[in-house]
Amino acid sequence: MRAAILVLWAACVLTAQSPDEAKGKQLFLGMCSRCHGLEGGGGEGPNLNRPVLTHAADNQALLAIIRDGIPNTGMPRVRRMTDAELNALVVYVRSLSRVAKVAITGSAENGKAVYNRLGCASCHTIAGQGGSFGPELSNIGALRAPAYLRQAIVDPAATLPRGVLLVPGRGFNEFLPVRVVTRDGREVRGLRVNEDSFTIQVKDAANQLYSFRKADLQTLDKELGQSLMPNYSGKTSASELDDLVAYLWGLGGAK
């Protein structure tokens, strides 16, 4: 395994500064940087500043991912590319492993205690334990970058995840808060679970499921730009926040 990594690393070094790398960088900035960050540091998408990429053991696998995307994840097939374009992207993405990783100053161990103290587990599950109202976090460090995780804690409405699964549908906001008032005056505020043009499925903070036909509603507010997750800005010290980010980043990410 170590030998394989060494070979990979050597391959990267050998191709550094090549025309392919420059071309790959241009393609990356256009198509990949919105999710993976300008230098592969991640964001809404995974950090690529690491020698081993979860889904891409070798360059052939990496090429296939760039060409086809990864089904049921946020990684799309952005567009059809020529072999030369694909190869240039592979070279550039591998070069990103040499970019210094984002520095994490907090302590993951302390962060776990902060997670417990704040009661995050009432809504989030890690490794099978916890609530199910909010997104599962078991592998969150593999999916998001530290800056994104930090923002999700102090300004959750700014980072509502875009859907990557079939429910509620690719590109739709996940965990979107909605307020519903039926024609007979019942009001429900909760998260959109799914929706079509005629119906909407909502769960409230008690995880109670509601199914409405839109024709029966007098109000359907989709609260875009809002989140039902509390805003923890000011509720943690700066070092506690660093620790919490370190803990979350460690869940599948900080390797």
């Binding site: 567009r79 590319m81 590109g171 043009s197």
Partner: protein, 525 residues
């Protein structure tokens, strides 16, 4: 009485579908004999038994589940007690109209190295003429089957699939001829439209959609770019028996998003052609999007109707183009009469007096992406609009969505992608769709019914005052054709990517639609 009816249907099955029957289909609305219902491609049913008062009582008559996985875009043909459908990728099947039970099915040998670049491996249906059904395959064959048994009458290669030619659309059958178009511009084919003798499969003519050196329009291409210029003919056209003209839309130039090698207007891509069906000669053409760089195929269904346009009675052809504009042309001359956006568009500052767009060069694809409305699928695409002669409205399932357009490298190599970039859709809460009812002569919006996701399914209007449509989330629905009010809706459990159509079983009106991998037929209890 019932026994008599059944007997009548069965004896009808021994009959044939001569050209005259297809041309006069309005006199027998219980059948559906050509892709869009009639040669005018109106996708309008004269049946009015299902109407605004009773549509909410529709119940399942039967369902048929496709054997193969894949997207189902088939539009059934119904005649003499049989429904003819295609299943993905290239299977033709005949179903008993009363029960949905298969009567025969035919699957040709498709080579494992078949090349399908530019769309999923779909098929949109068969054509019927005399005692045969005709359909195209993903390896670019045109096959004629005996309508009663599914036995092969003839099977010919329309062109070389290894160069990227393939067929997804239903052929158009007119008097003695089968007219068929091809897909493949994403592989850099040179597009054409073909006509074949329906009895023998012998080719009668081929009209290239991209002119060769010395031919009219040749100067609209740079260098040798015409050789791989695209211009597919990938959707079914319409036909005016009186003017004896066939109307057929053409697709994008190749490479789609990289125009470096093809300066000029790139005729006859992104155009509507009016052709003499006896010779294939182009009588007139209208190019909607000269020098296209966004993949604005003009493959949408051209609908024929007569209308008062600016105080003068005209024979017109209309199209809600993928580029976001609704066009009305004089179908005798090709004269541009009207062109108005039916969705938000950002790629052009409108159209000039002759219908030519003021295309914005800052909306061209770039290596790092350009945000443009509509997205890469377009304001509309392959799915059918509908025109109701009762309301004089043109109904379109329209998409309101932006996309990012990328310019990329383009290198021609036989049978490989020659697209020069691509696009990314901005799906989600910011995008939406709508069924829009446009005044057919002017394109003015009369009403709309919103959908949360930009649709990929067609529409049917009926003499019962209804418009049927399908949603990406699987809802099949009926709207009031005059007002757009929702009258009925049912969740079918799979994305609807097909066109509705209507017919009758023993005098009882039915409406058919595919959703997911199944075909559903609905009627009144």
């Amino acid at each position: 009485m019932k026994r008599l009816l059944v007997f009548a249907i069965v004896s009808g099955a021994l009959g044939q579908v001569p050209y005259q029957r297809i041309a006069g289909v309005d006199n027998n609305p219980s059948t559906w004999l050509t892709y869009s219902g009639n040669y005018q491609a109106q996708r309008f049913s004269q049946l009015d038994q299902v109407n605004q008062q009773n549509v909410a009582q529709l119940k399942l008559t039967w369902a048929y589940q496709m054997r193969n996985p894949g997207i189902v875009e088939t539009s059934p043909i119904v005649s003499d007690g049989i429904m003819y459908i295609t299943e993905p990728p290239s299977t033709a099947t005949a179903l008993d109209l009363h029960t949905g039970r298969p009567l025969w099915t035919y699957t040709p040998q498709i080579p494992s190295d078949v090349i399908i670049i530019g769309s999923p491996p779909v098929n949109r249906g068969v054509a019927i003429l005399d005692n045969m059904v005709f359909y195209g395959t993903v390896n670019c064959h045109l096959i004629a089957l005996d309508a009663q048994s599914g036995i092969v009458r003839w099977d010919i290669a329309v062109d070389d699939n290894q160069k990227g030619y393939y067929i997804t659309s239903a052929p158009l059958a007119i008097d003695g001829k089968i007219i068929v178009g091809v897909s493949g511009a994403e592989t850099g084919i040179r597009g054409f439209l073909d006509a074949y003798d329906s009895k023998t499969g012998k080719r009668l003519w081929r009209t290239w959609t991209v002119p060769g050196p010395g031919e009219p329009g040749a100067k609209s291409w740079g260098g040798e770019s015409w050789q791989h210029g695209g211009g597919s003919t990938w959707m079914t056209g319409s036909y005016d028996p009186e003017l004896h003209l066939v109307y057929w839309g053409t697709g994008n130039p190749a490479p789609d998003w990289n125009d470096d090698t093809r300066p000029g207007d790139n005729l006859y891509t992104c155009s509507l052609l009016a052709l003499d069906p006896d010779t294939g000669k182009i009588k007139w053409h209208f190019q909607f999007t000269p020098h296209d760089v966004h993949d604005w195929d003009a493959a949408q269904i051209p609908i024929l109707f007569d209308a008062d346009v600016k105080g003068r009675q005209r024979k017109v052809v209309s199209m809600a183009n993928r580029n976001g504009f609704y066009y009305v042309l004089d179908r005798q001359t090709g004269e541009f009469l009207t062109g108005v956006p039916y969705i938000k568009t950002t790629w052009t500052d409108g159209l000039d007096a002759k219908g030519r767009p003021f295309a914005r060069r800052d909306a061209d694809p770039k290596v790092n992406g350009t945000l443009v409305s509509p997205d890469i699928t377009g304001g509309s695409n392959w799915w059918s609009p509908s025109y109701s002669p009762k309301t004089n409205l043109f109904y379109q399932a329209a998409r309101e969505i932006t996309g990012i357009y990328y310019k990329g490298d383009a290198e021609y190599k036989d049978g490989t992608a020659y697209t020069g970039g691509g696009g990314e859709r901005k799906n989600g809460d910011d995008a939406y769709g709508a069924v829009r009812a446009l005044e057919a002569a002017t394109g003015k919006l009369r009403w709309e019914f919103k959908l949360i996701t930009p649709p990929l399914a067609g529409l049917l209007s009926t003499a019962g005052g209804l418009v049927f449509g399908g949603a990406e989330e699987g809802n099949f629905f009926a709207l009031d054709a005059e007002t757009g009010k929702l009258l009925w809706e049912l969740q079918l459990g799979g994305a609807i990517r097909a066109n509705p159509m209507s017919f009758a079983i023993d005098g009882k009106q039915q409406v058919a639609i595919s959703a997911g991998s199944s075909l559903f037929v609905f009627g009144l209890p």
